[in-house]
């Protein structure tokens, strides 16, 4: 089974790399004055070749001291801290709202449209205002960044968990009614366990969104550290290699986040006898 899964992934990766190299040659052709080898070794290429990104990634991680401003690990750690804080905050808010929506009908009608509307506002427009407002209150650094991150990550949690809490069917609810189980009991023995199936997909989306939020939050703060700052600096100076290396690190960060959620999901599945 493992082999049959690895092969398609390897093939897809090979095709992707091939297309990438082809695109790099095509895009860098003029800059390299029509020299095929030069298209893949420019200092500031329009599109860096994959191996250039790999080298840059290696140099800025393994090749630097971790506390150096040139270290991608340092920047990733800064972004990861606001991403994790934002994720935790977003999940907490998301769960709270979902529980409220399911239990208070008035809130379902009053809040849900606003919750949906909140996600139609471009985060790029909102982020600077959040930074300014929190800055005026004396909160700078992690807090506004975490809030921006939470703003993006609470949404999938509310929608998914609210749906999950409503998943129990009539029969199961009637059953608990015959035992005279109160709302709190219905929640703990029925609604919450039913929501697990919806919670984990939501958490995966939320942690990826939290990563995006954390990076976006670093753009307007004029931050000097973080992957967002690194991206911004890279684009100021046309350092495409730096940008792509930072992008690779950002994907790695999001992927590890999703991986952690998957791990947690596996633990829960095991505790439930193999099914969610």
């Amino acid at each position: 089974m493992k082999e049959s899964r690895a092969l398609p992934i390897a093939v897809a990766l090979a095709i992707l790399l091939l297309l990438w190299y082809a695109a790099a040659v095509a895009l860098n052709w003029t800059q390299a004055n029509g020299d095929l080898l030069a298209t893949m070794s420019l200092a500031k290429p329009l599109l860096p070749a994959p191996h250039q990104i790999a080298v840059e990634f290696w140099n800025s991680t393994a090749g630097q001291r971790i506390d150096s401003k040139r270290s991608l690990i340092f920047h990733a750690a800064v972004t990861a801290s606001s991403m994790l804080a934002g994720f935790a905050l977003g999940v907490a808010i998301g769960l709270l709202l979902a529980i409220l929506l399911v239990h208070v009908r008035v809130l379902d009608r009053a809040l849900l449209p606003w919750i949906v509307a909140s996600q139609t506002v471009p985060i790029l427009a909102l982020a600077p205002m959040i930074v300014v407002v929190f800055g005026a209150a004396g909160l700078t650094g992690l807090v506004p960044k975490a809030v921006i991150s939470a703003y993006l990550s609470f949404f999938p949690v509310v929608i998914g968990v609210a749906k999950g809490l409503r998943a129990p069917d009539r029969l199961q609810l009637d059953l608990l009614h015959t035992y005279d189980a109160g709302r709190r009991r219905v929640f703990t023995v029925l609604r919450w366990p039913s929501a697990m199936r919806f919670l984990f997909p939501s958490l995966k989306v939320a942690i990826a969104a939290a990563t995006v939020g954390a990076i976006v939050a670093e753009l307007p703060t004029g931050a000097e550290s973080g992957l967002g700052a690194r991206l911004l600096a890279g684009s100021y100076y046309g350092q495409t290699l730096q940008i792509w290396a930072a992008l690779a690190m950002a994907s790695l960060l999001a992927a590890s986040g999703v991986g952690a959620v998957v791990l947690l999901e596996r633990l829960v599945i095991r505790a439930r006898g193999g099914r969610l």
Partner: protein
């Protein structure tokens, strides 16, 4: 405790402009096995739900164990077995059976002891640690019966519990249920649309008709206690089934 478990007088239940139940008079004595039989839409499930306080009658009176259905529900006087097993898939069979005991706040040891005893009585002791989806449909329904019995109710309400099962499994479960009823002083109110099932199990058969849901006839069974599945080949069984069929037809239920 009185000798009457369920006592309904002039019971009406109206949903919008549909009369689900009309003028229902029904007495279920303690220790009775009463089947409610009739075509779909005759209100047999509605009647069961009224007894269970899952639906509120719009007219008439009903007493369960001498009190209102509401008080009876709060006293956990009955166990309810639904059409589907309604087991919680994330709980083992044992923990499904202990669910009601957990809700009434019984200590863990007592919960496990009772679950063990009830699973034994439905022949599922060996499956206590399995999850519901690892069991066949018939076994799942047996687990749900064990769950209903774990509260040690005096009344068992069953809503077409074996309707979704194949005939062979259903026969086995019918016999098991009959033995269980004979061995205890349980009162059973059993909804079915199978004439055979009603005739085989019941001490009394309540025949209902639809639109509005009314009781057409109440038939006393003269089949002996301790009967087994072979009785279905007996003349007495055929005569009983015939009476039920005739009563159903009289209620214009074939059509």
């Amino acid at each position: 405790m009185s000798d009457t478990t369920v006592e309904a007088r002039g019971l009406d239940l109206v949903f919008g402009d549909v009369a689900a139940l009309s003028e229902i008079d029904l007495t279920v004595a303690r220790g009775d096995f009463v089947s409610l039989i009739g075509p779909s839409g005759c209100g047999k499930t509605s009647l069961l739900r009224v007894v269970a306080d899952l639906a509120q009658p719009t007219g008439g009176t009903i007493l369960v164990n001498g009190t209102t259905p509401h008080a009876a529900r709060l006293a956990r006087a009955y166990g309810y077995v639904f059409q589907a097993p309604a087991l919680l898939p994330w709980r083992t069979v044992e923990r499904n059976v202990t669910l009601p005991l957990e809700i009434i706040g019984l200590p863990k040891d007592e919960r496990r002891a009772r679950a063990c005893q009830q699973l034994e009585s439905v022949g599922l002791a060996a499956f206590a640690r399995k999850f519901p989806w690892q069991l066949s449909g018939g076994m799942q329904q047996r687990a749900s019966i064990a769950r209903a019995l774990s509260l040690q109710p005096s009344l068992l309400l069953m809503d077409e519990p074996f309707g979704a099962l194949d005939e062979i499994t259903r026969d086995g479960l019918n016999l098991r249920l009959l033995r269980l009823w004979e061995a205890t002083n349980l009162t059973v109110l059993f909804v079915t649309h199978s004439i055979e099932e009603a005739a085989f199990l019941s001490s009394r058969i309540v025949v209902m008709s639809a639109r509005p849901g009314r009781i057409v006839e109440v038939i006393e069974s003269d089949l002996p206690r301790g009967r087994d599945l072979d009785i279905r080949d007996d003349a007495s069984f055929h005569a009983l089934a015939h009476r039920v069929r005739t009563a159903l037809r009289a209620g214009h239920s074939y059509g």
